[in-house]
Each structure stands twice: as structure tokens, then as C-alpha cells.
Symmetry: C2
Subunit: 340 residues, 2 copies
């Protein structure tokens, strides 16, 4: 059964049928019911190309994927994409992924928007003062930001976690355990999440009249090699840290390796708290010393964003909100009292 046959069967135009199926208000309720009943009985499944012609909608969400040889953020990207897909599959939407040189994300986004292939956009990998926001505001496509952008007016819809609060709470826990020299293995310094996490840490330290010295901070890509290198550097300091915060379990993987190679005991000689995006292959409870974490599932964020964007493409009046999620602080064995 194709659209043409269904049209003949019902004595309705193909456009009317498509609009009925896509919930357009100009189709009256009785007609819509007749169409839905016929669809159910015949097993008709709308052909996307025909649907697109009739409705002007591609049924798709677009996003940019920073890509370069040796660029390692894809573990996080893959998990976020899995979340988007989980929602998309429920609504028969697809995803359009525009790969981009990490230095040309704005250009890639513009080309994606101009392609006519997407109904809505996700903006991710947010930086402070992100110039892409102004561009998106000027387009007519609905969008949701994953994260936020410090310095830019906060008048856009987003799903973010409270990164500052997460690392503020984590640092407070370490301070309560008596730690005074706490280091930070963070993401690249231009990313909004990295800036906010550092701020949360600085704020907690300041409450105890402590400060974060620059040689106790590392900014890098989120790879385990970078985590290893950062931790090795910290361990060579004349006064090495007794605790460290990591912006990802991937960084923690390398940091823990450095700690083990140095013959130190995690949770005794040195404490560690990592942010856990709930990557399926890197579960903090499965480290040989289970990791204390701040947890928020990247997959859940992806799923939520897709769900809301799809709703918005179907109901033009649906308002896109700002959502700030709280990360959970989960204490396991990698944190202990500061060594005497």
C-alpha cells in the first residue's frame, strides 16, 4: 500500500492524507480519524519523501560532529548520539550528522542549516561567548543547545547540567576529608562546561581560604593519554596534590593508570573524583578502586533534547524551555581522608 493507493481508497488527496498523519490543524477531526483507521487497517507506512513533499518537513534533526584524525571526543559524542536516536526512533525521525573540522563548527552548522535537510538543530560543544548562538537566532529553525555559553545572553533553549554546583560539591567533600592540595584535570579551557567546573572548584576552595594554583590545573582533550600526562605532571610537583578532580571518566582512566604506575594507593595516598557521563564501557564502579563521581547521563540529555525538538517540529506553538539538571555526587572508594 503506497500513498497513491491509499489516496484512491479513501477518495482523499495525497496532501490531505499526509497532513492528517502529521497532525496539521487544517484537516478536520472526522477526516483525520478516517485516515488513521485506514492506515491501521492497511498497514500503510508513510514514505518519507512523499511526506516531505506534502509537509515541507524532512523528519530530521541535525548536528555537527567535530572530526579530525586523532580527535578523541567521539566516545562522548557516540553516547549523546545514542540518546538522540533513542527518541528519534520512536518518532520515525532521522539524524543528519555534519562532520566538521573542530575549527570550523560554525561554518558546518551554517551549511547544515542551509541544506534544507533538517527540521531542527542541536548545538553542542559550547564555548564561552559562542558566536554560533547569534547565527542560530537569525535562522528560522528551532534549536536546543546542549550546554550553555558564558558571556552570551541566556535567551535560548538549553539542556545543561549544573557543572559549577557539581564540582563545588565534589571539592567540598574533599575539603571535609581534610584535603588542601586539590588538582584539576579538565577539558579544553574554551569549553563552557570546563570553565564552570573550574569555577565551582575555586568557589569551594575560597570558602576555606584556599586557592587553585595554575600548576595544579590541566586543560586538554578528553582522552586517557591526556589524563595520564596530567597526573604524571602533578605527581612530579615538589608538593604533589593529595586529591584530584577529573572532568571525565576517560581522563580518570589515564589518571588512575599514572597513580598505579607511581605505586600510590587510590583512595589512600591520593583521592580522585571524576565526572561520569555514564559511558557504558567506562563504569566508575568497575575500576579496580571504584570511583567517586558526579553523575549525569549524556544519553539522557540527548534523548530529552531530541524528544523536545521533535515535539516542537510537530507543534509550532510548543515552547522550548531551559533545563538545568543537577548531577549526583556518588561516593565510592576512590575518596578517603587526606594523608597525614
Amino acid at each position: 500500500m503506497n500513498l497513491k493507493e491509499l489516496s484512491k481508497l479513501l477518495g482523499l488527496s495525497q496532501t490531505t492524507i499526509s497532513r492528517a498523519l502529521n497532525g496539521y490543524p487544517e484537516v478536520n477531526a472526522a477526516t483525520r480519524e478516517r485516515v488513521l483507521k485506514a492506515v491501521k487497517e492497511t498497514g500503510y507506512r508513510p514514505n518519507k519523501a512523499a511526506q516531505r513533499l506534502a509537509t515541507g518537513k524532512a523528519g530530521s534533526i541535525g548536528l555537527v560532529m567535530p572530526t579530525a584524525p586523532g580527535h578523541h571526543s567521539d566516545v562522548h559524542f557516540g553516547e549523546f548520539l545514542a540518546g538522540l536516536s533513542e527518541a528519534a526512533v520512536r518518532h520515525d525521525f532521522h539524524l543528519v550528522v555534519m562532520p566538521s573540522d573542530p575549527d570550523d563548527e560554525a561554518g558546518a552548522l551554517r551549511r547544515l542549516a542551509a541544506s534544507g535537510n533538517v527540521d531542527a538543530l542541536v548545538l553542542a560543544y559550547m564555548r564561552s561567548n559562542d558566536q554560533r548562538l547569534a547565527m542560530l537566532r537569525s535562522l528560522s529553525l528551532p534549536f536546543i543547545v546542549h550546554g550553555r555559553s558564558r558571556g552570551a545572553e541566556e535567551d535560548y533553549p538549553f539542556v545543561d547540567i549544573d557543572n559549577e554546583a557539581a564540582f563545588y560539591e565534589a571539592t567540598k567533600l574533599l575539603l571535609q576529608l581534610g584535603h588542601k592540595r586539590v588538582a584539576l584535570i579538565n577539558g579544553q579551557e574554551y569549553y563552557d562546561f570546563a570553565i564552570r567546573r573550574k569555577q565551582g572548584m575555586v568557589k569551594a576552595l575560597a570558602e576555606k581560604q584556599l586557592s587553585l594554583s595554575p600548576d595544579m590545573v590541566s586543560h586538554s582533550a578528553m582522552s586517557d593519554d591526556c589524563g595520564l600526562a596530567a597526573m604524571e605532571r602533578f605527581l612530579r610537583l615538589p608538593e604533589r596534590p593529595t586529591a584530584v578532580l577529573c572532568s571525565s571518566t576517560v581522563l580518570a582512566l589515564g589518571a588512575v593508570r599514572a597513580i598505579n604506575m607511581a605505586g600510590l594507593k587510590l583512595g589512600e595516598d591520593i583521592s580522585l573524583i571524576a565526572h561520569d557521563d555514564v559511558l557504558p564501557v567506562l563504569r566508575p564502579e568497575h575500576f579496580s578502586v571504584p570511583l567517586t563521581t558526579t553523575r549525569s547521563a549524556l544519553r539522557a540529555a540527548g534523548s530529552r533534547i531530541a524528544e523536545r525538538l521533535i515535539d516542537r517540529t510537530k507543534h509550532a506553538e510548543a515552547e522550548l524551555q531551559q533545563e538545568l539538571w543537577k548531577a549526583e555526587l556518588i561516593v565510592r572508594s576512590s575518596t578517603g581522608p587526606a594523608p597525614a
Copy 2:
């Protein structure tokens, strides 16, 4: 500089410019050179929508992503996608990802092909006798299969690794080390790669008059939990295996955890060889006992497939080949002589 302005500047039609940029033979060499020179001087970047109108090409590669809550193959999918992207970004192509219920991959592929949104398709997650091959042959879209399909006529272009040879060689190594009871933690039994790996193992065992008993084989999703459960079951057998092959480092992650929890020493009490797709966060050399592996990078396969498909969309005469890659057997510390 947009296409209209460039058209005015050169005194050429927009269609001619687009065709020149896309290598269409009907544009003569002198005109093409003029266009390319102007593009370079003005920094003009073709607008995809305009390009598509002019050439009928979307500049995109489509693939289906099996998705379900709790479906864990996305680590491998993400890495494969990163490979596709690496090639796509070089040619300004994008990817169209159709999420699909794992039981409706054929339907999702059909909808993707019918959408008109893709120039070429990648077929992945191959099963034996895969019915999707017949469908793809009937479409006019170029495609490449990642993997192969036992039982179906092998008349399609593919990029695969020699899974049978990989696990044959791995098993031979274990036999040379004196192991006689070798178990297998494999992918789902309907996947072509899983069938071939098992065959390679059976072949090597048969050469020593050994057979693979059904209670020494596990088929499951490629998650670490499944690897853990399988290994725990093997360790409870009256005669437990002295060696095990794992179809992924993700499965090995769980298997190694089970081995550690049982108080056994990897590489001494029990040997393990895993297939390594070169997932950036699960590097076999970073396990506490470095893993012996059969290695072939999933990212390289993705990149190669995208490169060839893009070439094919640009040059209709380009023939798509069949490529069978050899996995490398890399010996590390997780393999040792069979315990006496």
C-alpha cells in the same frame, strides 16, 4: 560571496558553476579552471542546497543505527561513525543516520533509501543470509557492505576483515601453548562475524582432534556485563577452560573482571585473547595485564568505506571492490602456557 554573486562575476550560469565544481564532464576544461580560480580567490564555498538542486546530489551517505533502550553496541557504532566522518569531512559530505529498532533494520534501510536524502548507503551489522542485500541490489543507490553475509551470493562490494583467519590464528597460538579447553565469548549468533570467528576456532581445534563443546560458547550483546556473566558461567564448569577468546575488548573487560573476582591470574591461571576494534577508551595495552589481541581498526574500515562511496558518487564509472583485511595477532601478557 554566494553562488549568485559568483555567477554574476564570472558571467556563467549558476548551474554551470555548480557542475564545474562537481566535476561534471559537460563543462569544458577552460571553464572549469576559471571557476576554480574564482572560487579560490573569493573564498566562495558552495551552498549545499543550491548544489543539490544543480546536481541532484545530496552529498550524503546514509546508514542505519540499531537503537533501543539498553542496546549497547553504540561504542562500536560510534567508532565506525567517526571513521566515516573522517572521510566525509574531507569531501564536505554529511551522514544521515536512521535510528532503527534492531528488529526492523530492513525497514529502516528501505525508508532511508526512499527518502531521497542520501547518495549512497552503508550496510552494517550483517547477518547470515541477510535479506537486505536483495533489497539493496534492486535499488539504484551505490552501497558498500561493512562485513559480509554467509549464505548470500558474494556479488556485492564490501570491506570486511578475515574473521575466520583471525580466530583460527588466535586459537592456534593457544593450542601451541598447550591449552586444550578453550572457551568463546562471542557476539550474537546471527551475526556473520560471530559465525566466522567461531568457524575459525573450530577449524583450529579440529586440527588437533579437539572440538568446541556448546557449554564453552557464549553468544550475547557486546557489553561488559555480558562478558562478565559468560566468564562466570565458564568458571563454574566442572572442568573450566584454561583459555578464552573474546569477540571484543568490551566483552573482555567483563571477562577480566570475572577472572579477577575469582582470584585467578590472567596469563597464568587462564589465558585470554580478545578482538580489538581499536576503541580509543579500551586499549588492550592498558589493561592491568595487557591483552593479547587480534587487531583491526573499526575507524579505518569506516573511513575506507566512506572514501570509496564518495568517490563512486563523483565518478559513476568507479567500480566498488571487495576488500578482505587481515587482522593482526598481537601477543601481550594475557596469554601464557596452559597450567599443568
